[in-house]
C-alpha cells in the first residue's frame, strides 16, 4: 500500500478534535490529506497536523461547503489528479473511498458518488433516513439525476470535475449544489455503494432535522453568482 501523491482527500472539519487525527491516520498511508479546520473552538487543526494532514484554517466558521471549496482549491494547487471529499467524523470507510477512486480512473469518470442506499448504513436513525429519502426525491426532480442517495459526503472527483464544480453554498446546501452542477455540466458520473456508520460520536454531532429547514432556506435565497 504505497501512497498515491496525486490523490487528495479533502476533509472539512468543525470541532472534530477527538476524532480527526484517527481519521487522518487512516487515510495518510494511501493518499495526501488536507483538513480544512473551519474555525473550530477545539484543537482540530493541531490534531489533524499531528495525524499527517496539511491544514488550512478558516479563521471563523463558514460552513462545510465553504470549507470543502477551500480544500479543493488547495488540493488542485498542489497538483491533485483526483479529489475525494471525506467526512471528519469517522462515518466513511477509507477502503471504499479507494475503490471509488480506482473505479473513477478505470472507467474514466468525472465523478463517483457514494450511495448508502446502494450500500449499507450502520445504526442510521429512522428520522435521518426519512429526511435523506425526501432529499433524494427532491434532488431527482430538480436535477433530473437518477440518484439513490443525496447529501452523501463521500465523493470522488476527477481534477477536471473538481475545477469545474464551484461550491457557492457555504453551508450544508452545497451537497445539493454539487449535484445540480454535475447535472448542468453534464459530467459523467456513477454511484458506488458505500457504508455509512452512525457511531455514537457522529450521532452526537450529526445533522438535526431542524437543519434541513436551513438547507431549504439557503437554496431558496441562492448563492452569490
Amino acid at each position: 500500500m504505497s501512497r498515491d501523491n496525486t490523490l487528495w482527500f479533502v476533509i472539512a472539519a468543525f470541532n472534530e478534535g477527538p476524532m480527526i487525527s484517527e481519521v487522518v491516520r487512516g487515510v495518510a498511508p494511501h493518499a495526501q490529506v488536507v483538513v480544512v479546520d473551519d474555525g473550530s473552538a477545539d484543537d482540530t487543526g493541531d490534531q489533524a497536523l499531528a495525524g499527517g494532514a496539511c491544514v488550512a484554517t478558516h479563521l471563523v466558521n463558514r460552513g462545510q461547503g465553504a470549507a470543502l471549496q477551500t480544500g479543493i482549491d488547495f488540493a488542485l494547487a498542489q497538483g491533485a489528479g483526483h479529489v475525494v471529499t471525506f467526512d471528519a467524523d469517522g462515518q466513511h470507510d477509507v477502503a471504499e473511498a479507494l475503490e471509488m477512486v480506482a473505479r473513477c480512473r478505470a472507467e474514466g469518470l468525472d465523478a463517483v458518488l457514494g450511495s448508502r442506499f446502494l450500500g449499507a448504513t450502520v445504526n442510521m436513525p429512522f428520522s435521518r433516513r426519512l429526511v435523506i429519502k425526501a432529499a433524494v426525491v427532491f434532488t431527482r426532480l430538480t436535477t433530473g439525476l437518477n440518484l439513490t442517495d443525496a447529501h452523501n459526503g463521500l465523493r470522488v472527483l476527477s481534477r477536471d470535475a473538481a475545477r469545474k464544480i464551484r461550491i457557492r453554498q457555504d453551508r450544508m446546501a452545497h451537497a445539493s449544489e454539487i449535484l445540480s452542477q454535475i447535472a448542468r455540466l453534464r459530467l459523467n458520473w456513477r454511484e458506488h455503494p458505500v457504508t455509512i456508520t452512525y457511531s455514537e460520536y457522529s450521532l452526537a454531532k450529526g445533522q438535526k432535522i431542524s437543519n434541513s429547514v436551513r438547507i431549504l432556506e439557503d437554496m431558496l435565497f441562492g448563492a452569490r453568482s
Binding site: 495525524g51 499527517g52 488550512a56 479563521l59 477551500t70 488547495f74 497538483g79 457557492r168 457555504d170 452569490r224
Partner: protein
Amino acid sequence: MIVSLVATGLFLFVLFVAAVRKFTFFGLKVSVMLFAAAGIYFVWNPDQMTRLAQLVGVGRGADLITYATTVILFLTVVGAIIRERRSGDVLTLLVRRLAIQQARFPERPKAGPGSRG
C-alpha cells in the same frame, strides 16, 4: 398634537435623508420621498387617510396604515437578509483566501518531492 409634531419631525427627517442620500436606484429614492411627504400630509389630514382606505376597500385609515407598515417591514427584512448574505459571501472569500495562504504542512521525514508542491 405632540404626537403629530413628532411624527412630522420623523417624516421630515426621512424626507431629508432620502433627498441627500444615494440609492441603488432612483425609483426607490422617489418612492421613499413620496412616502414621507404623504406621511406628513396624512398626519395633519387623518380624514383623508380614511377616505383613501375606503377607496381601496379597507375599513379605516388605521387599518390601511397597519397593512402598509407590515408590507414595508417585510420588504425591509428581506432586503436586510439579502445584504447580510452578501457580506457573508465576501467574508467567506476572505477567510478561504487566508486559509490557503497560511496553510500548514505536516513534518514529513524524508518525504518524496512534490509534497510541498
